[in-house]
Amino acid sequence: MTNVTMTINGRSVSGTVEGRTLLSTFIRETAGATGTHVGCDTAQCGACTVHVNGASVKSCNMFALEAEGAEVTTIEGMANADGTLGTIQQAFQDHHGLQCGFCTPGMVMTAAALLKDNPTPTEGEVREYLTGNLCRCTGYHNIVKAIMAASGQDVSSIAAE
């Protein structure tokens, strides 16, 4: 067992972990930030996506010890300072980009990483960037639309009905 300390959403969190303890387990169980979800065990579904030192990673694919001293941001850290929904979160609500909500934290974290690198992505670029995140509810239509809307693009011409 080894001690590990990292900053999660601005709060310093320490814990004793095994070498095999995953970052996703540390975030959920030690830090109690249960917004990060685990939907698979092969790093395919992306529900556990968080940002580590500004980079988007699947937290089930990284050991907690590898995040020693890191700055970690999870879905709980994505709202505005006054508690209102951040731009991407708000766009997901406005455009019905979620249903059961289980993949949603990973989708929002991935979308944030995309828009940081590519502030006005095309539909094709959004779809390509989302291939590491599975959603079983929405058919992706409204997720893609929400991300394009969050980037400030006019999505009113996208078929909705």
């Binding site: 609500q93 019905h96 009905e161």
Partner: protein
């Protein structure tokens, strides 16, 4: 009426805020004080005799609390099946026992052999590796037809064979159907597979058993679509816990798609073990475990024949299906290929004579049960494929052939025992032609050709029977449960309402849509209404959410309860206004006396109900809380027409969905935004089945698609933006909201559209000998068909 929050408003979902901020409460987010963790050791072989399970070494490993095996469940009940099908000879289906942990034999890869309870999950997993299970390999049966051959290995030694039932529907019509085929001018025959799928809600299943020594009550927290059903099945049939001593909680649930309807062994185990050990026991499925323990879907092998007269009228339909049950009967498995499938075979067409034969078969595979659509996608797929094939054989336009045979008069009694109340199939087809821009196809075809791609167009119709279901009818058909729904509406003194519904939301947005209905009825803002669901301790006995039933059945119960509330509130208002009850009108959140300016606000009436100082106590009780149970008198029948345009790369066989359009008739619509989202998701699952997904076993019963590395889920770049429309509305005539249900339509309507489109593309390219390719239409399958 509220300006922006009543029926028909695309209200943003209130539940989104918690899901978007990481504050949802899914089952795995819950932890009970002092909880232990369970890990199931599962069979790695498809069929084997358990000679011994030695847990001695494992039991001494760090953190191990106790190891359970099948022997610990000798006195415990079998996981029950909720539907008994009667075969064509009038005999009940063969119904094997399903122990919580395997006893004597293992029958599929993933069958649980032992359960290790330990202080941590890692310790439980480590100890499971030290269990010595001596399992003698037995030959496995995987292929359904081989499983029915004489001398085939038997999945259950105490049954006479691997045949669960041989069902004929309608058996009395068989002779007339055969006669019609003998007289037909043309017969189109198609053999096809509706492949096995894995539902794959993104949240894996979780169960936490808890036992309270203070009152002797058990609680199960579980990822379920129907907590009351689990309480009834597990309490009464497996563990012998009366319902008043058992609480089942299904909090936020991350998608269901059918596979979270059923009562699973892991739920019973955790509840049982918690009581034995006097401490909470938690199980969280990994995705790999989900692939081998969640009930799968579909898995039909079918031969369908369509008879037509010389004028291309459908005269008869005959089908023979083999339906895989897997190794045990899951909760509703027997009903899926029979009553949820055979009754749909008329589709949108006035075919006068229909005969459906289904042989349900046990194999050494994971149990198969309802998956989004459940029987209705299987019916729609074969019917719409054979109609398309018939059009090609006859050289007629597939849309025209469909139109010619449409049912046009309603109500319409089909030859397969259901009566469609309303519909307008011509309207949805016309709408589809418009939104799919069918007139522009030739130009798009030319463009594809210029780019070296083959383009195809596929159109189909669908009908669904949902809003499940009239209890007296399903009781006659073998259901061991009623299928009503319930709601309690509690009005608080200050006017806010809490609706406790027996429906369960796991993505459908009940917390937003249900208040819209009440807002409309009372004329208040929907924010005054709170929805409570998912906990047997605080909701009336309900049957849960599946079969597109929440609004049609659960919403109707809520309407009935709210009507009772309004009726009582009118009595109170009449007293306060010193008027006759018959003169009281409710509008915009106020009660008024007709023809006068006298009125009293909603909140004043509700306050009077709880502070009854000036109150008609001699006539009515104080308080304002009502419960209603609603049992529908018929199924609801959504319908529609779908269109898919594909491009096929002739070099690789890769199919790309270029356009997808859906014109649905759901009757009245409460929240169009939510309805569209449901259709989008259904289409993606249907396209996933058509192009990507397929659960594969090898001949020894090894599961080859055991993770997302092997099972191809649809991803964002596999799909286009869809064009969906629900403006054709023929309201349901027998529920108070006139709604039909929209949850399954997309998954039912889309697979045939995709396959019809690919066959069309290949035919246009001169490959006229290709009349069918089995799903999933992977590049290798399409390429092989083109190059055979």
């Amino acid at each position: 009426m509220p300006a922006d929050g009543g029926i028909g408003a695309p209200m943003k979902r209130r539940e989104d805020v918690r899901f978007l901020t990481g504050t949802g409460r899914y089952t795995d987010d819950l932890n009970r004080p002092g909880q232990a963790y369970v890990y199931f050791l599962r069979s790695s072989v498809a069929h084997g005799k358990i000679n011994s399970v030695n847990t001695e070494a494992a039991g001494g490993m760090p953190g191990v609390v106790r190891i359970f095996t099948g022997a610990d469940f000798e006195g415990v009940g079998s996981i029950p099946c909720g539907w008994q099908v009667t075969d064509k000879h009038g005999q009940p289906m063969q119904e094997p026992a399903h122990p919580v942990l395997a006893q004597g034999k293992v029958r599929h890869v993933g069958d649980p052999i032992a359960a290790v309870v330990a202080e941590t999950l890692a310790q439980a997993r480590d100890a499971a590796e030290a269990i010595e299970a001596d399992i003698e390999d037995l030959p496995a049966v995987v292929d359904m037809k081989k499983a029915l051959e004489d001398g085939a290995p038997k999945v259950h030694d105490d049954l006479t064979s691997n045949l669960c039932y041989d069902w004929g529907f309608v058996e009395e019509n068989k002779g007339a159907v055969d006669e019609a085929f003998a007289k037909a001018a043309h017969v189109t025959t198609l053999e096809l597979k509706n492949q096995r799928l894995v539902a794959n809600p993104m949240e894996p299943r979780v169960a936490i058993g808890d036992f309270d020594m203070a009152d002797g009550n058990s609680t199960l927290y579980t990822t379920s679509q129907n907590p009351h059903v689990i309480r009834l099945l597990m309490g009464a049939f497996v563990l012998g816990i009366p319902e008043h001593k058992l609480r089942v909680v299904a909090p936020d649930v991350g998608g269901g798609f059918g596979t979270k309807i059923f009562h699973y062994a892991e739920e019973a185990f955790c509840t049982f073990a918690a009581k034995q050990l006097r401490r909470p026991v938690k199980w969280t499925s990994s995705r790999s475990e989900a692939f081998m323990s969640d009930a799968h879907g579909r898995d039909h092998v079918t031969k369908i024949e369509l008879a037509l007269d010389a004028d291309n009228n459908f005269t008869a339909l005959r089908t023979e299906t083999y339906a895989n049950m897997g190794a045990y009967l899951s909760t509703f498995a027997p009903s899926v290929p029979t009553w949820l499938h055979g009754t749909l075979m008329a589709g949108n067409y006035k075919t006068p004579l229909i005969y459906v034969n289904v042989k349900a078969v046990f194999t050494n595979t994971v149990p198969v049960d309802a998956y989004r659509g459940a029987g209705r996608p299987e019916a729609t797929y074969q019917l719409e494929r054979v109609v398309d094939k018939a059009a090609r054989e006859l050289g007629v336009d597939p849309i025209a052939l469909r139109r010619q045979n449409f049912i046009t008069q309603f109500p319409y009694a089909t030859p397969v025992a259901v009566e469609y109340d309303t519909g307008d199939y011509e309207a949805t087809m016309a709408k589809l032609e418009e939104i799919a821009d069918l007139s522009g196809f030739e130009a798009r075809l030319a463009e594809s050709k210029k780019n070296g791609k083959l383009r195809g167009l596929g159109v189909n119709c669908y009908i669904e029977a949902c809003g499940i279901a009239p209890s007296n009818l399903v009781g006659q058909l073998g259901a061991r449960a009623g299928l009503y729904e319930s709601a309690t509406v509690r009005v608080n003194a200050t006017g806010g309402l809490v609706v406790m519904t027996g429906s369960h939301s796991h993505g459908q947005g009940h917390e937003t849509a249900f208040p819209q209905v009440i807002a409309e009825m009372i004329g208040i803002d929907p924010s005054m209404v709170e929805i409570v669901h998912g906990d047997t301790a605080n909701t009336p006995m309900g049957m849960g959410t599946y079969g597109s039933r929440s609004l049609a059945v659960g919403g109707s119960a809520m309407v009935r309860a709210t009507e009772k509330i309004i009726n009582k509130a009118k009595k109170i208002a009449a007293h306060l206004l010193e008027a006759s009850e018959g003169d009281i009108e409710l509008k915009d959140g106020a009660f008024s006396v007709a023809g006068t300016d006298k009125s009293v606000a909603w909140g004043d009436v509700t306050l009077a109900a709880y502070v009854p100082h000036n109150y008609p106590l001699e006539d009515i009780e104080p308080g304002l809380e009502e419960t209603a149970f609603y049992d529908p008198s018929n199924f609801t029948y959504p319908s529609g027409a779908y269109c898919c345009e594909v491009e096929v790369d002739p070099e690789t066989g890769k199919v790309t969905i270029e356009r997808f359009a859906a014109a649905d008739d759901f009757g009245n619509v409460v929240n169009p935004m939510i309805v569209e989202g449901q259709v989008h998701g259904g289409i993606a699952q249907g396209v996933g089945q058509a192009l990507l997904e397929g659960c594969v076993y090898d001949e020894d019963g090894q599961l080859l698609t055991g993770s997302y590395m092997d099972y191809a889920m649809p991803r964002a770049d596999d799909l286009p933006f869809y064009s969906v429309d629900h403006s054709c509305q023929t309201p349901c005539t027998h529920n108070p909201l006139g709604v039909k249900g929209c949850g399954e339509a997309g998954a039912i309507g889309s697979p045939p559209a995709v396959v019809n489109a690919v066959v069309d593309a290949l035919q246009r390219a001169g490959k006229t000998d290709i009349t069918h390719i089995d799903m999933p239409l992977s590049p290798s399958r399409v390429w092989a068909a083109m190059n055979q």
